[in-house]
């Protein structure tokens, strides 16, 4: 029943930075992350900037170097171990896994027509043989993304933000992928358009049976689109749960703080929320113990010394915090 499309096990991504020959430092952008993304799910990844969500997304696309652990991709047709994938396999994996970028203004070449933009992956990957075949495929995908024939002849500058994002989506879909990473794909859009693009992504997911990893810093957007959410902080997974569980009863103090930071639409509900002080520490100079202890209002000495492990429970709600049970208790009473 619950088929896993991608399973990450202790996945780490590090980048060498500065230092001399003998004291090379490694910046760990993603550190020991394990997660399962189920086939056909909409998997949300949230966290502040610098939490490593984009790097994790890219590692799963094999677009960032995997320096520890690994990730296994299995869609029923092929099985790949991403940490030691061959060139041949990688070429095939590129068709199966695609990325939608954040900024639809930067992601589209201004000198190509929309038709050429959408057709490019087909040509590069050699998926179609004739021009007629390519055109047919482009038209089919464009229609799914509500772009008409007239649109295909134009250049990106003639389009608004929402339309451009639909072009980016069409380009990502044209190679018939199984897995799509959408990195802040609605963050640059106005709310009125954002809802439209989210609905489109959802519809495409159901129609084509895709699996999405949806990276966002906006919790209310994630709440509305994703089935499962993972919260990241400084390269670690701090909490992961089915969306409803997470939003009904967040366990990690960081997740709670993220919730309370969302500006309320009620003008009379001002400033009552508990706010997080300070900022996310630099990944080159990470705190000891629990990475969150420098900003956590509930940190005790133990938190400064020992890093908490991700505790799994049978409901699929995992959390990495020494004190979550204690902290949940007063609410239950």
């Amino acid at each position: 029943m619950s088929d896993v499309l991608i399973r990450a096990k202790g996945l780490s991504v590090g980048f060498p930075i500065g230092g001399g020959l003998f004291n090379k430092q490694i910046l760990k952008a993603v550190d020991n992350v394990s997660l399962d993304i189920e086939k056909g799910s909409f998997f949300g990844l949230v966290g502040e900037s610098g939490s490593g969500k984009t790097t994790l997304g890219r590692a799963l696309l094999k677009a960032a170097p995997i320096t520890g652990g690994g990730a296994h991709y299995s869609d029923g047709e092929v099985d790949y171990d991403l940490e030691n994938i061959t060139k041949e396999q990688l070429r095939d994996y590129r068709k199966r896994a695609q990325l939608i970028f954040q900024d639809p203004y930067a992601a589209l070449s201004p000198r190509m027509t929309v038709r050429d933009i959408i057709a490019e992956p087909l040509e590069v990957m050699g998926l179609t043989k004739t021009r007629a075949e390519t055109d047919a495929r482009v038209r089919e995908i464009a229609a799914k993304c509500r772009l008409n024939l007239e649109h295909l002849r134009r250049f990106p500058h003639a389009f608004s933000g929402g339309q451009r994002q639909r072009i980016s989506i069409a380009r990502a879909l044209v190679s018939a992928p199984k897995f799509i990473v959408a990195d802040e794909s609605v963050a640059a859009l106005d709310v009125s358009i954002q809802a439209d693009v989210l609905n489109l992504l959802k519809q495409i997911q159901t129609d084509m049976g895709l699996t999405f990893m949806f990276i966002s810093h906006d919790l209310s957007v994630v709440a509305h689109t994703c089935d499962h959410v993972a919260v990241m902080y400084l390269g670690r997974l701090v909490e992961t749960a089915p969306t409803r569980k997470l939003f009904a009863a967040p366990r990690h103090p960081y997740t709670k703080a993220l919730f309370s930071a969302i500006p309320s639409l009620d003008p009379d509900d001002r400033g009552t929320a508990q706010k997080l002080t300070g900022e996310i520490p630099s990944p080159t100079n990470q705190p000891s113990g629990c990475k969150f202890h420098t900003r956590c209002p509930f940190a005790i000495d133990h938190c400064k010394q020992v890093e908490p492990k991700l505790e799994t429970d049978d409901t699929g709600h995992d959390v990495a915090c020494h004190r979550w049970k204690e902290l949940m208790a007063p609410q239950a009473a």
Partner: protein
């Protein structure tokens, strides 16, 4: 007491494709100590309107002769649009009016220290010695919650995090003690956690310095948290305005209603998101009649396509420009 009065502001840009209307007959006023939220999607003309208050629009901007912006300073009223020389313009550019921009990295000069930039503008607007200006700057950096202010004073913009940069930007804008602060999407580029901190800071500063703020944003949640009153713009028109509680709880214009409905809400995960249909039209193809009729779900008749609705009062200060509220439907 009124701080700034904008009357019949109409602004067009001269371009190769002809005159483009960016702001169409907009009037509003703001009092001391009042925060006005200016809301609308990209292309609605909110930034252009705000920049007019500083007479800061590009050279191809053409103001209609009826446009009038009056700033009330301690030394009497100033007719902003009649200011010409850089010396005259000083009063609205950093003197009595300051601005905070969306992207603080782009607003600081990258090769000059934060401190040097703060000192420069203080000396430009006030009669300070270098030493005095430095002290004021460090005090201001400290006030906006930057730790180790005297060290930050000598750092460059790239050495600060996004949240710190935005705080430094606020410190710089406020160090000349402006009467009016224009904040153009000041929290949009920040994480929610940092956004919450910056919003708190701005609220504190309003009560402390008692200035007026024009807060431009597309985030209605941010407006609800900061503003006293809200003005909603669409394609250069002011389509609804009123006290924040009125507009957020009881929106009258179909566009405002649509914006609120499009917001994903945390307390209701089951109902689907309802987008405002279609895209904002290009300013080159301004619709006739009501500018919103091409996307409106509540068009009442031909009148929407042919007659531009005038703003009418619903109650108290709540005004809306929509034919739904015409007394005698045409």
């Amino acid at each position: 007491m009124s701080l700034i009065d904008v009357q019949n502001l109409t602004l067009k840009f001269r371009t190769d494709e002809g005159l483009i209307t960016a702001v169409d007959n907009v009037s509003f006023s703001l009092n001391k100590g009042e925060v006005m939220g200016l809301v609308g999607e990209s292309g609605s003309g909110k930034s252009v309107t705000a920049k007019s208050l500083m007479h800061l629009n590009a050279r191809n901007a053409v103001y209609s002769p009826e446009s009038k912006i009056t700033l009330h300073t301690d030394k009497g009223p100033v007719d902003v649009l009649s200011l010409k020389t850089p010396r005259e313009l000083n009063i609205v550019r950093g003197g009595a009016v300051s601005m905070i921009f969306q992207e603080p990295m782009a607003s600081f000069a990258p090769a000059i220290t934060i401190g040097k930039q703060m000192v420069e503008q203080l000396q430009l607007h006030g009669d300070y010695s270098k030493e005095q200006a430095k002290n004021i700057s460090i005090e201001m950096l400290d006030r906006v919650g930057i730790s180790d202010a005297s060290k930050r004073f000598d750092q460059y913009a790239f050495e600060l995090s996004g949240g710190m940069r935005q705080r430094a930007m606020i410190a710089m804008a406020l160090s000349t003690q402006p009467k009016l602060l224009i904040a153009d999407e000041p929290t949009t580029a920040l994480d929610v956690t940092i956004q919450a901190q910056v919003i708190d800071l701005m609220k504190d500063l309003v009560s402390e310095f008692h200035m007026g703020i024009v807060f431009i944003t597309h985030d209605l949640g941010v407006v609800a948290q900061t503003a006293d009153k809200v003005n909603v713009m669409y394609l250069g028109r002011m389509i609804e305005e009123g006290p924040v509680r009125e507009v957020i709880r009881n929106p009258k214009h179909p566009y405002t209603q649509g914006l609120l409905a499009a917001l994903p809400k945390l307390d209701d995960l089951d109902s689907p998101l309802t987008p405002v249909p279609g895209d904002i039209p290009s300013p080159l193809e301004r619709p006739t009649g009501c500018v919103f009729h091409t996307r409106c779900s509540k068009v009442v008749g031909d009148v929407c396509m042919s007659v531009d609705p005038t703003e009418r009062q619903i109650e108290n200060a709540h005004k809306v420009a929509c034919h739904i509220y015409d007394e005698v439907p045409a």
